[in-house]
Amino acid sequence: MKALYGLYLDPESAQNAVDALRAASSELKFDRRRIIIASGEPHEGYEFTDSHLTVSGPYRYAVLGGIAGGTLGYLLTTLTQNSYPILTGGMPLSPAWTNGIIVYEMTMLGAILTTLVTLLIGAGLPNFKGVISDPGIWAGKILVGVVDPPDGSEPELERRLQQAGAEQIKRS
């Protein structure tokens, strides 16, 4: 996978570059999803960062994961206690008080594991092929570019990236 990208010193010029590439996508006939943005820290308050989008999926999945974990805990305790009864000295065979502890812990474990899985899927991790990164982003710069630019479009893309205020233009 090859890429053409520019490194930007501030989020404003990165936003300009993203806007320029979006405009170029229809003119140069490439999919907008090929536009790549990467930074060494999250930038909030800019359109290109997606921070304005409301995402509720992970919260819902965490709740669902918690419910699934709690149900599993309930089944684990009650089914085993009833399948393999032991002498309890007159106490209930399947006591809600003590089983509640297992159900609680399993609920939280379910929510935690679901959150982890949701993050990995949502963020597209793990992804060991085609990682486009530049040491510059760890120095505070923002990478904006196009993955697999269409043939013959590179000079125009380079011009637009430069025009948006790129400190450096690179190819990978």
Partner: protein
């Protein structure tokens, strides 16, 4: 912002790429302690659990003291970090990773101790609920089974809570490293690129984790306290034990965290990141916990004294006036009388002052765990069953090894992971610590004015 970001990157990656002689000496000392513990444990496996000083009626000694102590230490990290994240306290940034690492390692060490205690660790898998032909299932009515579930959940949650915000920093090391190191960090970073979507999902995940981990942390130490309070041993069967243990755990955990921060600051040269303000803020929290601990200790003893039950009074007087009195009063000095004046007076609440207070608290809280367990078992209901406990060299060695293991794990961690979250520090460089003003989010944080905050304040 770029020069500052580069500086942060350089400073915080420095310990990963440079190793001093002092580091290897420290690793060597901690490693020797761990090896001594392994040898002692090997001897215990060969000779049997009788090589410990535990006996009838004191069947829990140093091992369970250490177990409760380390689970308590584990409380600081994740709990403090999660609360500070939820409150969006900007000064948390240099502190959180040091704290989260303590949690994971302390809970690992605490979790290993019951395996030593059961005497036949190769049968520990009986705790795992799986269908088997012997029809042996964990007894879900037993606090030991609750411990298993609670500690597993807390360890998993804490490890995830530590790992998630470390992924971007692993990517940072990946891009700075070469050779085999680059390949290792490539795997650890999971192919992180830093796209807006990845950042957004990471922050949401951290938010959910922070919400989920706080009740889990509280439940873990409450459940550990139920190991005691579910029994009818004098002075154990008490409803105050849950909150008492949680307060003690947070207290000892913060002390351990401050001690670790002071050492990291000195030896990793993090003076510009772990500033006096961090020690001052945590020092105030430690002061609050010291006062709370004293109140709970007083409340626990008051109800015993007022009830005046003979069996409980035997334990009460044995710890205050008789054989355990020296340890009891050392505990009061270490947990209250020494740290409170240091932490209450601003002039003494310096890095050195808080480190001294933290040292005494760690010692005092270990004694507190010991004094909860041993005097009560020593003096059960009928005098004919009273006994004495004296730890043997095997238990002493295992205890020293647990401290060595903590030091070793922490030292190795500093070699592989930036001890301060690099990307979070960079967020702190952004105006208003990365929180956009003039947006609903900014308004939620009370940011209505334009203009950056001073750099020091943001850190």
């Amino acid at each position: 912002m770029q020069p500052a970001a580069e500086r942060i990157e350089k400073d915080l990656l420095w310990p990963i790429f440079h190793t001093s002689v002092k580091y290897w000496i420290a690793v060597g000392v901690a490693g020797c302690l761990v090896l001594a513990g392994v040898a002692a444990f090997g001897y215990q496996l060969y000779a049997g659990i009788g090589v410990w000083g535990i006996n009838e009626p004191v069947l829990w000694g140093f091992d369970i003291t250490n177990f409760v102590f380390w689970i308590g230490i584990s409380h600081a990290g994740t709990l403090i970090s999660a609360i500070l994240r939820l409150c969006n306290a900007t000064w948390r940034r240099p502190v959180t990773r040091c704290a989260e690492a303590i949690t994971v390692f302390a809970i690992l060490i605490g979790g290993i101790i019951p395996l030593c205690h059961i005497g036949r660790p190769w049968l520990a898998f009986w705790m795992i609920p799986y269908p088997n032909q012997r029809f042996i299932w964990p007894n879900f009515r037993s606090p030991l089974a609750w411990d298993f579930f609670a500690i597993t959940t807390y360890l998993t949650g804490s490890a995830v809570f530590l790992y998630l915000p470390t992924i971007p920093d692993f990517a940072s090391v990946r891009d700075a490293a070469t050779g085999i190191r680059k390949r290792i960090y490539r795997v650890l970073a999971l192919g992180w690129q830093g796209t807006p979507r990845q950042w957004q999902r990471l922050e949401i995940a951290m938010h959910i984790m922070a919400i989920a981990i706080v009740p889990v942390a509280v439940s873990v130490h409450t459940i550990v306290s139920w190991d005691f309070s579910m029994t009818l041993v004098p002075m154990w069967h008490s409803s105050i034990f849950g909150p008492y243990f949680v307060v003690g755990a947070i207290f000892s955990g913060i002390a351990a965290l401050m001690l670790a921060m002071a050492l990291l600051r000195k030896f990793l040269h993090l003076e510009e990141y772990l500033k006096p303000v961090h020690f001052d803020n945590l020092g105030k929290l430690l002061l609050t916990m010291s006062l709370l601990w004293f109140y709970f200790t007083f409340a626990e003893r008051l109800t015993t004294w007022y009830g005046n039950t003979p069996s409980e009074m035997n334990v009460f007087w044995s710890s205050i006036r008789q054989q355990f009195a020296p340890l009891f009063w050392i505990m009061v000095f270490c947990n209250f009388l020494i740290p409170v004046p240091i932490l209450a007076v601003k002039r003494f609440r310096t890095i050195t002052g808080t480190a001294i207070a933290s040292c005494t608290i760690v010692v005092g809280m270990w004694l507190e765990r010991f004094l909860i367990i041993v005097p009560a078992l020593d003096h059960k209901f009928l005098p004919y069953s009273w006994g004495h406990y004296r730890p043997t060299w095997v238990e002493d060695t295992l205890m020293a090894a647990s401290f060595g293991a903590m030091a070793l794990l922490y030292l190795l961690f500093t070699k592989f992971v930036p001890m301060i979250s690099i990307w979070e520090m960079k967020v702190g460089l952004q105006p208003h610590g990365g929180i956009p003003v003039s947006t609903p989010e900014g308004e939620r944080h009370g940011l209505v004015l334009e203009g950056p905050l001073p750099l020091d304040e943001m850190r």
